[in-house]
Symmetry: C2
Subunit: 121 residues, 2 copies
Amino acid sequence: EVKFVKSVMAQAITIEPETLIEEASRIMIEKSINHLPVVKEGRLVGIITSWDVAKAVAMKKAGGVAEIMTRKVITTMPDEPVEVAARKMEKHNISALPVVDAKNRIVGMVTSEDLSRLLAR
Amino acid sequence: EVKFVKSVMAQAITIEPETLIEEASRIMIEKSINHLPVVKEGRLVGIITSWDVAKAVAMKKAGGVAEIMTRKVITTMPDEPVEVAARKMEKHNISALPVVDAKNRIVGMVTSEDLSRLLAR
Ligand SMILES: C[S@@+](CC[C@H](N)C(=O)[O-])C[C@H]1O[C@@H](n2cnc3c(N)ncnc32)[C@H](O)[C@@H]1O
Ligand SMILES: C[S@@+](CC[C@H](N)C(=O)[O-])C[C@H]1O[C@@H](n2cnc3c(N)ncnc32)[C@H](O)[C@@H]1O
């Protein structure tokens, strides 16, 4: 039985480019997550993860997330098979994909934790 | 065909309790990883992840990793089936397991990224 991203994805919690790194960190801790898509006027403009926060700490950087977010975001869609999503994450050495609809609006988030759970049958 | 942890695990990069949070962050960035087991005199005493670094940022904490590491570490062994490792991660909502031998010495690290790659066949 083929599984699709829509059956494993979670709700995405998004932030804005002006959000401070410290505030983004607080949200990750409150929601127990590691990945936050960055959205400006409804459009996906970047992604920041706890790895980026560690990078900011290593480089003694503070300020808004726009300075440290990744701007070229790899995404998936609800009807994509989980194998395709897993292949994208492997290819780019990343651990999450924002899920977007046909109009590129964010409808969810899928992480390598969600996929690894499929093995925990 | 059953897969075991030993066929997917990677080499573990470890740190000591006295390692500074900033130094641990530098190692995560250099090695492109998110999880560091903390070892004292050859024994596993904790684990620190990029999520813990985000927590330190949210709480404006600095200093040695001993202050923010998780001390009760969930582990796995090389001969454990990957489904069992996946179930442990799911149960504790964690994304990595240090791999230990019969004498509790660290022999590797397995992450939810390693398990999600199994789906990318
Ligand atoms: C290259 S990975 C390396 C470490 C580890 N594999 C992980 O995913 O955390 C870390 C970087 O990937 C970026 N990243 C995470 N998800 C992404 C996505 N869907 N598209 C583009 N970049 C992403 C983060 O912003 C971060 O700078
Ligand atoms: C509970 S998870 C929540 C966020 C997300 N699920 C993740 O794994 O990053 C984050 C916490 O799990 C802890 N952790 C990670 N791997 C662990 C392990 N093998 N044993 C015990 N705690 C671990 C980290 O130290 C961190 O405080």
